[in-house]
Amino acid sequence: MAEFKLKIRRYDPETGAAPYWDEHTVELEPHRSVLEGILQARNENDGSIGVRCSCRSAICGSCGVRVNGKPGLACHTHLDDALASAGEDGVIEVEPMGNMPIIKDLIVDMDAVHWKKIQRVTPWLIGKEPVPEREYIVSRESMIDVTQSMACIQCGACVSDCLSMEVDPLFVGPAALAKTYRFVGDPRDAAHEQRLKDLGEDKHGIYDCTHCFKCIEACPKGVAPMNQIMRLRRIAGNDFHIKDRNNGERHEMAFVNNIEKNGILHEADLLPDSYGGKFHPRAVPELISSLPIVMTALLRRKMTPGKALLHPHKAPDGVKRIFEVVEGRDERNEFNLYISGTDADNEGTAEVAEAIEAAEPAGVAPDGTEGSSA
């Protein structure tokens, strides 16, 4: 048994009083969870502490909070680990999650934000017609792939810390977009293109993510929502060529073409090209609005007209060759660490697989093809 000091953020909007910190000392073994600490404080010191929890085993997703400023599950954070990341005073800070209104103390309104966004993305499978007589056969790889986004337990930790949502509350956000990939990555779903067009055209959709990695860091289940968002963009642009009104696809292609031509980024071209070219109706107002900055930059010699207009750097042949080879492939070659694992992870697994195969009689493999006989 050891003593731990918990500082809990308290707030009850119904009283009209300002939020405040409330400190409690709890006695528990160090490997016990922060949730157990909160519950002990509630049961023994102050029955009015508001906290939501259910399974206490990191599977129901109810107890999302911030511990020492970082989002996660209270039941999945050991007290000794929380103490290690606490400030110099050795007090563990527990706060409600961000980006969502507080109902009371550590309980946030998931309905108002998180669940609304999940509903926004049609979170169910739209089956292909005609419906086959028997089950759909799906390749093992594509199933492993979607298990990453299926691992989401809807705790809201990623939503809590999304930096894009912090300034744009309408952003569909990491959890709902990871859920979108769960269906766009599923070969059984019939609405890939519609889903991507819908979320590409939405100003607050797939192109509103700033690539800040906060959701990857926040997720207690390894869903890596941002990686799923990047794959949605890749499929929208490369497979369906969806030219969205937010310039997402245009910006991507402007960047890629810029590097193919110049080797290193020629910024003066990137902005107009991202809007469709210097004379595109969309580009003109953008360029005019940035004129004062361009003028100041010229005045301070941050850029020179020569540097902006000429292209002093040309892509070396080696770089051009890479574009030729990779862009010339019939199919995208995408190495997915989640599916493949690292060489170090896989060491020995080949032998195990062979051993299993040798022990099993010939039969039908999960993908429906006839298995090889041992």
Binding site: D168, I216, E217, R234, I259, I293, R300, P316, F335
Partner: protein, 304 residues
Amino acid sequence: MKVAYWPGCVSRGFTAELHGSMAAVAPMLNIELVELDRASCCGAGVIAEHSQELADTLNARTFALAQQEITQGADLMMNICSTCQGAQSECQQRLDASAEYRAQVNETLSDEGLEYQDGIINKNFLWVLVEDIGLDKLKTLVKQPLTDLRVGPFYGCYIVRPTDRLDINAAQPRDEYLGQVIEALGGTVIDYAGSHKCCGFPIITMNKEASLEQAGRHLGDAVDAEADCLVTPCPLCHLNLDLQQPMAAKQVGRELNMPVLHLPQLVGLALGVSPKELGLQHHIVKPTSVIDWSQAVVGGVGGW
């Protein structure tokens, strides 16, 4: 030490003062820069968004070029851009994970006679400062300590997240290094909400309001915390925080006037390099507070 030096694109384009200031401070820190001038853009996450293999191959080529320098005596590869660090680390993680995938990528590089071997050490200047040069050594080189200069760190997402890929842990707190460097240079570290947040730059062409709102909010937080200036190891953050600052100020409806320095500029000031040589005159937001502090001959800076 000798490094295979990857300056990045923006440091030779719209923030040329970054490349220039790095060149000015390197000899004072005893760093020999061997520039990788045939290397290409890291893709800044955008090329990977288009095609991972393309980004991986372009960066494998850069790594292979760096490894040629390393065989000839360079200690490691060094970059001066948070975004390069993050984008290249992401590609390196995939390349180092699988010999089979690496072989596919090397096949494309073989036309040029290049080959990437796993395990390159690629560090941002910030990491080199703390881990290879060392804060104690840095302290001894300070000629003009930044006494009373209140500096807010601004890291840029790519150099602080994800922590496992970037080897950030209790033993190696790379997400606290900027504060450590500011202190070593004699300055005061300002704690404000935006230090580890996103500058908003990646969505400037897609959702300009949200992008500028992010920049404006973090700059405003720094103003409220009474910072004299911010310092960043990321030139892309510098674009949104400095170049776009007048627009960000409009977006958030308040005056900001917050100078933003590149990391080598801050180091250079403490090492006694003149503000002009560090290119401070090229910034959109005049770093008057910083120049006043350094008691440089303002007339000598010129061109304001």
